[in-house]
Amino acid sequence: MARIIVVTSGKGGVGKTTTSAAIAMGLAKKGHKTAVIDFDVGLRNLDLIMGCERRVVYDFINVINGEASLNQALIKDKNCNLLYILAASQTRDKDALSQEGVGKVLDDLSKDFKYIICDSPAGIERGAHLAMYFADDAFVVTNPEVSSVRDSDRMLGILSSKSRRAEQNKEPIKEYLLLTRYSPERVKLGEMLSVEDVQEILSLHLLGVVPESKSVLNASNSGIPVILDEKSDAGQAYADIVARYLGENKPHRFIDDKKGFFGKLFGGK
């Protein structure tokens, strides 16, 4: 059985898709067969970040509607043969997603894959709801600012009450905090919430901090998940996150305003 992970946030633009792409690639690179699904029907982006937009023939909605088989729609990643992408449809809207349909696709994928990453759209409507409904684990992506933190809190409430696990009275979804676009310099100046502030408000297990980094934009533009940029701070942060999720003990980095060896070497912005 696969472990289903939802990457969610409530708020838009915090780095859900970047995180989904990086985590999926990280898990696959560690030798686990992984699928990543774009739930943002109508505003699909994951295929761009993964650099496979020119190979999309069939999408998630086609599979749900029975117009294509799962094997036809799954796109094999060009960097890692254990990673598959299921793109969203750009021409449909989120109402095209049905609970039974999504459940069936996830069930089918579960037979063959170790991890399934669900890249949630922003908001708390249908798309976001279905992305998290079947999840076992939730990566809550939060930026260190108040509106993002509050939206994450709202999302956590939905995760604990509206998911399949909650409805069936099973063990609740495991929730992890990913603090992204973190800038220790700005925290120091009081322009940004600190890790402690965010944790105090959300009281959630911190899986990792991803620093604000130019490498993320570069990676997105070139269609290569940032985790493959091993020299970048954000890439390393995601690698740490994957390792921690898989049970390795890695100390937290990128929280303090001291530029390490890599920081000095590469500007570390």
């Binding site: 509050r150 709202r154 409430g157 939905i158 105090e200 009281s203």
Partner: protein, 244 residues
């Protein structure tokens, strides 16, 4: 105590008077229509049959007498007994009602809560008083997980939360509210008009606090009680926030 008394070698007293305080539900009636009283009381009893089974109860007819509405106490007592409750007192009755109660062997209780006596003279505050006061106590709701933004919790009795309450939440209780964690949302105690209800929290950062409709918003909370453990209660229609 009797066991101890028997052990004493000299002149063991056969009895002893002691003073003890009990918490007894008070049934305040706001109508003299026996049928309505029976229906509504039955509905309440059905909510927690075990709790109400043979539960002692004090009948309060003060509200009716204030409005000069006469009620047949004997008939009301009969209804109460029929539903399996044990009336052990009456209060706020007029001379005739008191006599009726005494004949039934039901003791008279005086009303000694200061708020109710003041209430009669003072002009009403704009806070709307709920029509039927329901001071019947129901059980305590205990929640051990954090209350997240957007969630709403309602407790018919007391509400105890052993976790944080986030901003953008609403917690309501007919009784008291205890938050053993940071309170950032809205907390409303005594929502059915119980002016004795209190709010306790270990870190006050609430958006709004209210007791029986008397409220304060975050902006009105003074800086020195913020981020501290406090209790909040009503003193003559004024919200008092005190450090604990």
């Amino acid at each position: 105590m009797s066991k101890d008394a028997q052990k004493t070698p000299y002149n063991p007293p056969a009895l002893e008077f002691k003073s003890s305080t009990f918490s007894v539900p008070v049934l305040v009636i706001a109508s003299n229509d026996l049928l309505i009283i029976e229906q509504q009381l039955q509905a309440k009893v059905l909510l927690a049959p075990e709790f109400f089974k043979n539960s002692p109860l004090v009948l309060d007819v003060q509200e009716l007498n204030k409005q000069s509405v006469d009620v047949d106490v004997v008939a009301v007592i009969e209804v109460i007994r029929k539903l399996g409750l044990l009336p052990i007192g009456i209060r706020g009755g007029n001379a005739r009602q008191n006599e009726q109660a005494t004949t039934l062997g039901i003791p008279l209780h005086s009303i000694h809560t200061s708020s109710t006596t003041i209430d009669a003279k003072k002009p009403k505050t704009p806070t709307p008083e709920p029509e039927t006061k329901d001071l019947l106590q129901t059980g305590t709701t205990v929640i051990t997980h954090p209350i997240r933004s957007g969630q709403r919790v309602y407790a018919a009795g007391d509400l105890v939360i052993i976790a944080q309450v986030s901003a953008g939440t609403e917690i309501l209780a007919e009784g008291n509210i205890h938050v053993y964690g940071t309170l950032r949302g809205r907390a409303l105690a005594g929502v059915q008009g119980n002016t004795e209800a209190r709010i306790f929290c270990s870190d006050l950062q609430a958006e709004l606090i209210s007791i029986a409709g008397n409220y304060k918003i975050s902006e009105d909370l003074s800086q020195n009680i913020r981020n501290t453990p406090v209790q909040i209660y009503l003193d003559k229609q004024t919200l008092v926030i005190k450090e604990i």
